[in-house]
């Protein structure tokens, strides 16, 4: 399947790229098989994700999942962010070929790892 226009837009114009010096949680996860990496930094205040930033290395879906993840979780409560699934991410991107779903899995794993630091 071809990549969606949302996908292409995030690839060409990544949102929220970078790191946060005042982050309360930083998660750095790696897909041990393919080597893709995602780093997520969060500033959380009053149980709500105020700011999210990401860095990514890997195939285009990994880069795009990082970008769209930060958009989806910004402003959400921790409980709301915990509910986010791989499918939510794939749908938000406008679909992904099944062989690339591992990118969404890595993003959710990184999110959960960051959220776990806050509890």
């Amino acid at each position: 399947m071809p990549y969606s226009s949302i996908f292409k837009d995030h690839l060409a114009h990544p949102r929220n790229a970078g790191e946060l010096p005042d982050a309360n949680a930083i998660a750095d996860e790696k897909n041990p098989v393919c080597g893709d990496r995602l780093r997520l930094s969060l500033v959380v205040k009053n149980d709500r994700i105020e700011t999210a930033r990401y860095l990514a290395y890997g195939c285009p879906p990994t880069l795009v999942c990082g970008s769209i993840l930060t958009e989806l979780i910004s402003g959400k409560s921790i409980e709301e962010a915990k509910q986010l699934t791989r499918t939510d991410l794939v749908n938000a991107i406008g679909g992904l070929p099944s062989r690339k779903h591992h990118a969404a899995a890595l993003a959710i794993e990184t999110l959960n790892s960051a959220l776990a630091q806050l509890s």
């Binding site: 098989v33 290395y57 285009p60 880069l63």
Partner: protein, 396 residues
């Protein structure tokens, strides 16, 4: 659709030359007879095939009755390797090949290995070139085939085929009569001056669509006297080597493309080399942390393979595609499994460098302005991806 489109993937396939398309279109409508038919329509098709065969033979300075038309390079490689191994299996079951062959050679060798053949895969070292001493050392009394590509499809390095040909002739003269040399010249044909006697090959593969002909047609050169077991049976076409009604329009197109390639070879090489050298000089000036892959001297004129540190090739490729620039990468990430390019890995580089490699292959229709545009969008895309990369953070 981007406003500007630049095609720099001429090693994957070339655009069909309008002169070739014209010749092919005429053959589609006017030369529709079956070349095996004895009537006038059939003989007209036969004559068109013969003319094309002369042109393809002339491209490699071979005799026309040594050219077998196929559906392309993959079929020609299959016919060469399987066909020879089946015909000569009584004399030995050892094959020598290189670690950087195209899948249509590597795959056939791997399959023969499963059936009990022994395969020696020669390394290529950091420059991407097989050492002739390694070929010599790998030779055994039961070796029947050496199959090494003439020029690599990912990094363009030119392999020592003429020297291997000398080695094979020496061995034959010393009594090892059943030793044959095949080369996959798909990337080299139309880009290098080729003379079959100078190369000393018994079998040589060419593909039409790499030299401005359409897809679906290729050829295998088979030296007179070499016995091949046909892979397609059920017809007498191509002197019993490849059964099936000939693809007359494709063959006519291939013949025209081969003629143009021969006539324009020097001019095309100079053009491609000038663009490639300009591109590499500008990339070096604009982009840091890069590695140019493959030998700098012994390589095809039209091809540049570069690893961009800290980023991944596919991400860069799609970023370039969004700007209308077509290039390719040998690495693939699929189902969470990384498959870095076996060719780049064979150079002994790290996974990161193998993953970050892109191939830029120029063609006769590219211009100086194309290079300027590509360097511009490439530099911007590399910078964007490096800003995203946790691997390049130490630089910022």
């Amino acid at each position: 659709m981007p406003e500007r489109r630049v095609y720099l993937d001429n090693s994957a396939t070339t655009p069909v030359d309008p002169r070739v398309a014209t010749a092919m279109a005429r053959a589609v409508t006017e030369t529709f007879g079956n070349a095996s038919s004895v009537h006038g329509f059939g003989q007209q098709a036969r004559a068109a095939i013969d003319r094309a065969r002369r042109e393809v033979a002339a491209l490699i300075a071979a005799r026309q009755n040594e050219i077998v038309f196929t559906s392309g390079g993959t079929e020609a490689n299959n016919l060469a390797i399987r066909g020879l191994c089946q015909a000569a299996s009584g004399h030995g079951r050892h094959i020598i090949t290189s670690a950087i062959e195209h899948p249509s050679v590597a795959g056939v060798c791997a399959e023969l290995e499963k059936r009990g053949w022994e395969v020696t895969r020669l390394p290529v070292y950091g420059n991407g070139i097989v050492k002739i001493d390694d070929v010599s050392e790998a030779l055994r009394s039961d070796t029947i085939l050496i199959t090494i590509m003439l020029a690599n499809n990912e990094i363009g390095t030119i392999q020592p085929i003429a020297q291997t040909g000398v080695l094979v002739r020496e061995r034959r003269a010393a009594g090892q009569k059943n030793l044959w040399l095949h080369t996959d010249a798909v990337q080299a044909a139309g880009r290098l001056h080729l003379n079959i006697e100078e190369l000393g090959c018994d079998l040589l593969t060419i593909s039409g669509h790499k030299l401005y002909a359409p897809k679906g047609v290729g050829a295998l050169y088979v030296r007179r006297g070499v016995r091949l077991h046909g892979q397609n049976v059920g017809g007498h076409q191509e002197r019993e080597r490849r059964a099936g009604t000939e693809n007359v329009p494709g063959i006519v197109a291939f013949g025209e493309a081969a003629k143009l390639a021969r006539e324009e070879l020097e001019q095309r090489s100079q053009h491609d080399r000038a663009l490639r050298d300009k591109f590499e000089a500008e990339v070096r000036e604009r982009i840091e942390y890069i590695v140019m892959n493959g030998d700098r001297e012994h390589r095809l004129d039209h091809l540049s393979n570069i690893s961009f540190r800290f980023i991944e090739g596919e991400g860069l490729l799609i970023n370039l595609d969004l700007e209308g620039v077509a290039v390719s990468t040998g690495s693939a990430c699929s189902s969470g499994t990384l498959e870095p390019s076996p060719v780049i890995r064979a150079l002994g580089v790290t996974d990161e460098l193998a993953r970050g490699s892109l191939r830029f292959s120029f063609g006769k229709d590219n211009t100086d302005a194309d290079v300027d545009y590509v360097v511009e969008v490439l530099a911007a895309a590399v910078e964007r991806l490096r800003l995203l990369s946790p691997l390049s953070r130490a630089l910022n």
